[in-house]
């Protein structure tokens, strides 16, 4: 029992946000913030440049995006549950919550990809106009991040299965959790910079 308690402490210590390696991940995320800021700038700059092609109001469909958004927001919550269980040392539950997070993330990504496929099919592909390039660029970059997050979740589940909740695993989970919440945050910005104004424009017109 006592060795278990000791393990818990070392797991909690490894998952702290201010260890050297986790701190470095914060710094890395800063650089990612700049990447997204640039893409937001690009989007805002090009968002009215339709080049005679479809407009924002034409291509955005809020109901699907709403579902997508809910799935991603919920996945932040479920990841939080995984972290709570990590701090309790509950290995099986961590895996379960990671699994739920994965499903929600995969739903999000699948939905986004089908939206992309639909747009390209409709002739609203990224080659059509500056606006659509910027849209695909920004949303696609976020999607690529989600994809890497999903791969990372799988890797972590395998590592938990193989190694159990060791301090290195806990430390990686802490970074993955940062990453995942960060993606959520970015998505909220995407939603309110891309989809909401786009659709409101349509309503106003």
């Amino acid at each position: 029992m006592s060795s278990n308690a000791h393990d818990l402490n070392s797991i909690r210590a490894a998952a702290r946000a201010d260890t050297e390696v986790n701190f470095g991940f914060w710094i890395y995320l800063m650089s990612d913030v700049i990447i997204f800021s640039m893409l937001f700038l690009v989007y805002v700059d090009l968002s009215q440049r339709y080049a005679g092609g479809p407009t924002a109001a034409d291509v955005f469909e809020l109901r699907g995006v709403f579902l997508e958004t809910m799935a991603l927001l919920l996945s932040s919550l479920t990841f939080g549950m995984a972290m709570v269980n990590l701090h309790q040392g509950q290995k099986e539950r961590v895996v379960i919550w990671l699994g739920v997070t994965f499903v929600l993330g995969a739903f999000f990504l699948g939905h986004e990809l089908s939206e992309f496929a639909h747009l390209i099919h409709e002739g609203a592909s990224f080659t059509r106009s500056g606006f659509l390039s910027a849209f695909f660029g920004l949303v696609g970059t976020h999607g690529a991040h989600v994809f890497f997050g999903l791969v990372w979740i799988v890797v972590m589940v395998v590592q938990i299965k193989l190694r159990g909740l060791t301090p290195p695993v806990a430390s990686r989970l802490a970074r993955l959790s940062l990453f995942w919440h960060f993606l959520d945050l970015v998505w909220i910005c995407v939603f309110s910079t891309v989809y909401l104004p786009g659709v409101l424009q349509g309503v106003a017109a």
Binding site: V21, F23, I27, S31, I34, V42, A51, P168
Partner: protein
């Protein structure tokens, strides 16, 4: 199967390029042959290719920088030769498109593959030692950064052989760098070389930012950090916040060129000015990334060779931070003429001039440090003096250009070219060479030759003035930059003078390589036994030269800004602990070269649209990272006994060198004792005796 790559890519219309290729491939084969003949591959692989030791990584960075200094200079000399021979009624010897490749290659190589690796190399060698750490925060990441830079450099090199390099200038402005105007692969090589080296730099930025914040020895608070560490800290912040902008600009340009998007195209809703904005949102901070660490080098040099504490340390720190902050607020000065309203131009013009204030503070701090110092005119002091005078002039011409009205006249002229060389050559080049001389004994254990060093200095200094003062004049006479030929007879004279200046610089570069050769030949005479060849003030001088792989057997305790000088004055330097302990160090690993190799092939495949190969390489990189994450951090242990033997050998050499005697007389080196009178005695707990052994 091979995308756009056909045998045509290997044929070159210009004999000069064929000749350059023969030399490049020949040299490569010769080096490979020699290494094989002398059976050096195993040694190289074990000691260098797979190492994660920051000191060796630093040395390799500087090796890369010196290679590209040569290549970048050859390109510049060819540009000079062309302009000296392509006046009215003359032919010149280059085709216009080859000329364009040369100035593009020169700018790109000098900035990305000479200056940046040189800076990162010095940071690698000096910073962990200055802050009393055993390594950087992420040694493997550090190795990956190094090899990514090498991979990017290799892309530039191979563009000479297969295909061509960009003709769009080092800044790659759209729409010219777009597919419509530059259909060849040159721009793609440029994009991927910059992209890979930019990612490497970002990773370095993260690594050193964390290292400086998290790995300082106990007692080293912010106001006790050595100045080079301070300026590097500000630099890493700039890197982390600005390089991603370049990453995005390049990625979108690559998409425009290969996926048919319309981010920066002139048609279909793209915005060309957006590229130019993004480029300079990175580009202006970049010039401070090039210059701030070098300001740090000068600060170290001035305090060391004037035997005095740095004057105005706090003002220096604040000035550095002010420059770092302001550097994000001025990017529009690179395109005053591109159509924004006068109010905006005025605002950015004023912001630009404001930077002169903190820069001036620094200049005065250096001068006041020299004032009443006991100056030793060693080579780095010469570089510093040359820098102070020359850089101030360059700064002045910068303030001139910051006036939007004047910039309308000067923009895109040789006046601008003269200006930025006038800041880059003293502000970056001189400082890098000063730092090279200063830390060379620390890295290699012997000092560099002084005489050839002086030849190099005067070559660079005189050559600079002869080569670039004419460009100020030419700019005033209205000569635009990047001209393959021209019709104005008045310009010709000055361009010949400028070419002579380049020859004088060539002598300076030659002398530098002679200096390295001579110093290596006479290395036994120039050994640095004590690890403290200059009477240094900061922690890197408290350990052996070259340092053992663990740097510090015992992590030192810091009591003062000039931590080592404090120890010397208080007779606590060179102390041995009661007992040594085992030291854990990260193991060597080939994973960095694997990842960089894949990155190189990825870049090459993307350039030639060999998509399957690019995809495989990307998967390979991801796979390598995942595979590594399954290995627990591999470490090896240096047993306490071995540490003790190494340290004892060092202490013997220190005694042999008479460093302990010198230490007793340190008050004769100026006002050291009184400078430290106010600071309390250090605690001597944990050390064996009060006297140095």
């Amino acid at each position: 199967m091979f995308g756009k790559l056909t045998l045509d890519a290997f044929t070159h219309s210009s004999l000069i390029i064929v000749f350059a290729n023969v030399i490049m491939v020949g040299t490569g084969l010769l080096v490979i042959g020699l290494l094989t003949y002398f059976r050096k591959w195993g040694y190289l692989y074990r000691e260098w290719f797979t190492t994660v030791d920051h000191k060796k990584i630093g040395v390799m960075y500087i090796f890369i920088a010196l290679i590209f200094l040569l290549r970048g200079f050859i390109d510049a000399a060819m540009v000079r030769a062309q302009q000296a021979t392509a006046g009215p009624g003359m032919e010149g010897y280059l085709e216009a498109h080859h000329f364009a490749e040369l100035f593009t290659g020169h700018g790109t190589m000098m900035i990305f593959f000479m200056a940046m690796p040189f800076i990162v190399g010095l940071m690698n060698i000096a910073i962990p030692l200055q802050i009393g750490a055993r390594d950087v925060s992420y040694p493997l990441l550090n190795a990956i950064s190094l090899w990514l830079t090498a991979a990017a450099g290799a892309l530039v090199m191979i563009s000479l052989l297969i295909g061509q390099f960009s003709e769009a200038g080092w800044s790659g402005y759209t729409p010219f760098s777009g597919l419509d105007h530059s259909p060849s692969v040159g721009v793609d090589y440029w994009i991927w070389a910059l992209q890979i080296s930019g990612i490497s730099t970002t990773l370095t930025g993260v690594n050193f930012l964390v290292t400086i914040l998290k790995k300082r020895a106990p007692g080293m608070n912010f106001m006790r950090m050595p100045m080079f560490t301070w300026t590097s800290l500000c630099t890493t912040i700039l890197i982390v916040l600005s390089f991603p902008a370049l990453t995005v600009a390049l990625a979108l340009l690559a998409l425009d060129r290969s996926a048919g998007t319309h981010f920066f195209t002139g048609t279909m809703g793209g915005d060309q000015m957006m590229y130019i904005n993004m480029f300079w949102i990175w580009g202006h901070p970049e010039v401070y990334i090039l210059v701030l660490p070098v300001f740090g080098v000068f600060s170290e040099v001035v305090t060391t060779y004037c035997n005095k504490r740095l004057f105005g340390y706090k003002s220096m720190v604040w000035a550095t931070m002010a420059i770092a902050f302001l550097s994000f607020t001025v990017w529009v000065h690179h395109f005053f003429t591109m159509g924004q309203d006068p109010l905006r131009n005025a605002a950015f013009g004023i912001a630009t001039m404001v930077i002169a204030i903190p820069t001036g503070v620094k200049i005065y701090d250096w001068i006041w440090t020299m004032f009443r110092g006991r100056i030793e005119f060693k080579l780095p002091m010469l570089w510093t003096l040359g820098f102070i005078i020359t850089f101030t002039m360059g700064g002045m011409s910068g303030v001139l250009l910051a006036i939007p009205g004047a910039d309308y006249k000067m923009h895109n002229s040789l006046f601008l070219v003269a200006h930025f060389h006038n800041v880059l050559i003293p502000g970056t080049m001189f400082g890098l060479l000063a730092g090279f001389y200063y830390w060379f004994p620390k890295a290699f254990g012997f000092k560099l030759d002084e005489k050839w060093g002086r030849h190099s200095f005067f070559g660079w200094l005189v050559g600079f003035y002869v080569a670039f003062v004419p460009l100020y004049m030419l700019g005033m006479m209205g000569m635009p930059r990047r001209m393959a030929s021209y019709e104005n007879p008045v310009w010709h004279f000055w361009l010949v003078i400028a070419a002579i200046g380049a020859l004088i610089v060539a002598y300076g570069i030659f002398a530098m390589f002679m200096q390295i050769y001579v110093s290596y030949r006479d290395r036994e005479k120039n050994r640095d036994l004590s690890g403290d060849p200059w009477g240094g003030r900061t922690l890197e001088w408290s350990i052996a030269s070259p340092p053992p792989e663990y740097n510090f057997a015992i992590i030192p305790e810091v009591h003062d800004r000039d931590a080592f000088m404090y120890m010397k004055v208080h007779n606590t330097a060179y102390q041995r602990p009661e007992r040594y302990e085992d030291i854990h160090m990260p193991k060597s690993t080939p994973i960095a070269i694997v990842i960089a190799g894949l990155a190189f092939v990825f870049g090459f495949a993307y350039v030639w649209h060999i998509w399957w190969l690019a995809g495989l390489c990307l998967l390979g990189v991801i796979g390598a990272v995942i595979a590594r994450s399954f290995n627990p951090e591999p470490e090896y242990v240096i047993p306490a006994g071995e540490v003790e033997r190494t340290e004892n050998a060092f202490h013997d050499k220190v005694a042999q060198d008479g460093a302990l005697e010198r230490m007793k007389h340190i008050e004769s080196f100026g006002d050291e004792r009184s400078a430290y009178a106010a600071t309390p005695e250090p605690s001597t707990t944990g050390t064996q005796s009060e006297k140095p052994l």
